[in-house]
Amino acid sequence: MSVELSFGEKNFIQGGIEQNLRADGRQRLDFRPMPIETGVIPQATGSARIRLGSTDVIVSVKAELGRPNSHHPGKGKVVIYVDCSSTVGPSFQGKKGEELSSELSTALQKCLLGGSGIDLSSLILVEGKLCWDLYIDGLILSSDGNLLDALGAAVKAALSNSLIPKVNILPDLAADEEPEVDIIDEEYTQIDTSSLPVIITLTKVGKQYIVDATLEEESQMSSAVSISLNRNGQICGLIKRGGAGLNPSVILDMISVAKHVSIRYIATLDSEISTAEASSAS
């Protein structure tokens, strides 16, 4: 994510943020428009594509039958992995790309799976024996900043789009026998995503912080804090990027700003997802 900026350009970006008028005309706490398409990958259980300016990400969900972890016999499993297409730019190639992939994957897991966002017990079919495993794969097609927020929103949209087949489980199973399943055609259940949190990243430039930073703005950051919040205003995860230290009171202030912003953001995301669902169903 290397951006070469001249002294004048840097000054313009920093000055704009200071005066609450960013280079693209937004205010500090404004998001870019967020068009969503769902069902873009027909063979997946669910999928969604989100664009934020030139940032473009696709997330697919694949449901497979698996065996619950022996420590949590009553729960299904969710795995999130993000892949960076090397065509995006030099910083997405080779080892740098791998590092970014693993950073984003870990961040998503911490922010989305830490709390009770996805009800894992709803994925169980036979306790201790059979469950649904959700493989959530993200792909970055192009980047103009704020990848984590975009991916978080896309995961939510893809899960809303997911239809998990209903199954018949053959009864009379002996203690050590593998259960037999029968997938019922054309009957599905939906995953409840209402309590799945959203991720809001506040990027600190100078003394101010902004949401939905572009690549150019990110190049001027001292540090960034990503906060995941659910509908009830609970904080479900928090991670920090960037070297510069932050005063604890600044972090707490960022949390309250994110909480404030999240109300509007969740509403926008909900309406975008339902619009996309309506158009993909027709």
Binding site: S102, E103, T106, K110, G114, G115, S116, S223, V225, N230, G233, Q234, I235, C236, G237, L238, I239, K240, R241, G242, G243, A244, G245, L246, N247, P248, I251, L252, I255, S256, K259
Partner: protein, 248 residues
């Protein structure tokens, strides 16, 4: 040969918290806001430029610092130094021989990257241009709050090696179990926690260099947990400073 052979560790019975909301006593009889007995020491190894050993309860960590030394990779010229962090766990760090466990390598990777993120803003990288400082940590025994112990131990080792820093870095972890906040959780407590806040903090500058929060939290609880962590980091900072003074 051991890799082709499948073995398993006999399971040990684990105590469970019966009712998290009720008043309970921590298994080691500590107060909720009391850290485990700690032992810290600098200079446990002489092959390195600096090193430190840290023991918090049953969590035991050694950190060695190498360098500043020539950057190994064919790196481009850089007027600031490179920081390289690597955390490894011994095979006996966890009750189950860990190499066979799933996610063992991922855990090492995560710890390494978290250590890097905590330290990158604390070390004066411009004091060793063109060269690399290696921070290698070995977790001898994982007993809970591992990352915090690694970070504090690494900062002590860096000071021992004479690497310039803006401030000593201290780190503590606070777990939320039900409605209670407990500091410096053990493994057993981490398994039962509903949320965790780990901060790396520079006491003299009053700055957080790294923070991770998991689980569901209300804003009020976060404020409370942050306050507890910062206060504990201040105390730990004094402890580290005293150790460095004595080791001179």
């Amino acid at each position: 040969m051991s890799s082709s052979l499948s073995t398993y560790a006999p399971k040990k019975l684990q105590r469970r918290f019966e009712n998290k909301e009720k008043e309970w006593i921590r298994s080691d009889n500590r107060g909720f806001l009391q850290c485990r007995p700690a032992f810290l020491k600098t200079g446990s190894g002489n092959a390195a430029s600096g090193s430190a050993f840290a023991e918090f309860g049953s969590t035991k960590v050694i950190v060695s610092i190498f360098g500043p030394r020539e950057s190994k990779k064919a790196m481009m010229y850089s007027d600031i130094g490179r920081l390289n962090c690597s955390v490894s766990l011994t095979t006996f760090a966890t009750p189950v021989r860990s190499k066979a466990m799933m996610g063992f390598e991922q855990n090492e990777k995560d710890l390494s990257s978290m250590l890097y993120k905590a330290l990158e803003g604390v070390i004066k990288l411009d004091t060793f241009p063109k060269t690399t400082v290696d921070v290698f940590a070995l977790v001898l025994q994982s007993g809970g709050s591992d990352l915090s112990v690694i970070i504090s131990c690494a900062s002590l080792a860096l000071a021992d090696a004479g690497i310039q820093m803006y401030d000593l870095l201290t780190s503590v972890s606070v777990a939320r179990v039900g409605n209670n906040l407990i500091i410096d959780p053990t493994n057993e407590e981490e398994n039962e926690q509903d949320g965790n806040l780990t901060i790396a903090y520079m006491p003299s500058r009053n700055e957080v260099s790294q923070v991770t929060l998991t689980g569901e939290w209300s804003t009020g609880k976060i404020n409370q947990a942050m306050e507890i962590s910062v206060a504990a980091c201040f105390k730990l900072g004094d402890v580290l400073r005293n150790i460095l003074r004595e080791s001179e």
